[in-house]
Symmetry: C2
Subunit: 178 residues, 2 copies
């Protein structure tokens, strides 16, 4: 996909609905991907995202060492790759090769972007105070990319054990909420 730059102030509209994400890292020249759903927006602008990256994940050490990653948001077409990536470890497998996904260079971080995802957020660790207690990283999104042709992405929302809710229809109500 030919993604375009996306305003940082609107990043919350991508993550607030709770999609499954694919988080990429690069450490000592090796790229990795993990499937991730435990994240929340914490500030609008600059956008801050809180993420749990378990110490059991191979990505944990890479994120801790490099303090950089990219949050990539897949749509329903990538469901099989999302599950495949969630079920193997970067300690044993080259997940880009195994999944067939394409790594693209990011603009501000070493972690690659995933070409097939409709949105990619380049992130730096902003606060690691809760990493020791909860594996909780606070990330600042420093650059955002979105495929402009996709208006309402058919994102995946994990209900546990490989069951996903697919983003359904849209409801718009008058609101003063941001």
């Amino acid at each position: 996909m030919a993604k375009k730059s996306f305003p940082l102030a609107k990043v919350y509209t991508l993550l607030e609905p709770g999609p499954v994400t694919l988080i990429t890292t690069a450490h000592k020249g090796v790229a990795n991907i993990m499937t991730q759903s435990w994240h929340t927006m914490m500030e609008f602008e600059p956008p801050l995202v809180g993420c749990v990256i378990s110490g059991r994940n191979h990505s944990f050490a890479a994120l801790k060492a490099t303090r950089e990653c990219a949050i990539n948001i897949p749509t329903a077409e990538l469901a099989k790759q999302v599950v495949l990536i969630g079920n193997c470890s970067g300690s044993k497998v080259d997940k880009f090769a195994r999944s067939g996904l394409t790594a693209l260079p990011a603009s501000l971080v070493q972690a690659p972007l995933i070409a097939e995802c409709y949105a990619s957020l380049e992130c730096r660790v902003a606060d690691s105070r809760l990493v020791n207690s909860y594996n909780f990283f606070i990330l600042e999104v420093v650059k955002a990319w979105v495929e402009p042709s996709i208006k309402q992405a058919r994102t995946l929302h994990h209900r546990g054990k490989g069951e996903f809710m697919l983003a359904g229809e849209t409801l718009k109500l008058p609101s003063r909420m941001k």
Copy 2:
């Protein structure tokens, strides 16, 4: 709804897909509700949930003082009430009266449960280290209730400014993920 007790170990299946929630508090005998989407699971069991409750919300002071709340999960039928509650302040309005929602007593906390929501999670503040920096409360779910007749809830997922994605169809793939 006649909700039944729900296993704490499965609470993540309710919150991981990213639904809009209605968070209730009770402070000095006054109950309040806020609309909330910035939350993430942080641990499976006991279930920990990280929540941003802005200092601009009337609920902030109640949660800080009482260290208790309930996370109620509405379905699409309650969309109008969700927006109404998000667009007024408990400092001026009795949100239960205004929305017509029904407060039910909880079992372990003072905050009321919302009868019309399909799930309700009684919570206590477990860690407030990041409240000053980010208005970020880490809550422990101490009791969970779910309406047993609803298998795949039509939850609301906020995309910003009153636009919601409604939970769509279900996709099940073989997975070893929890």
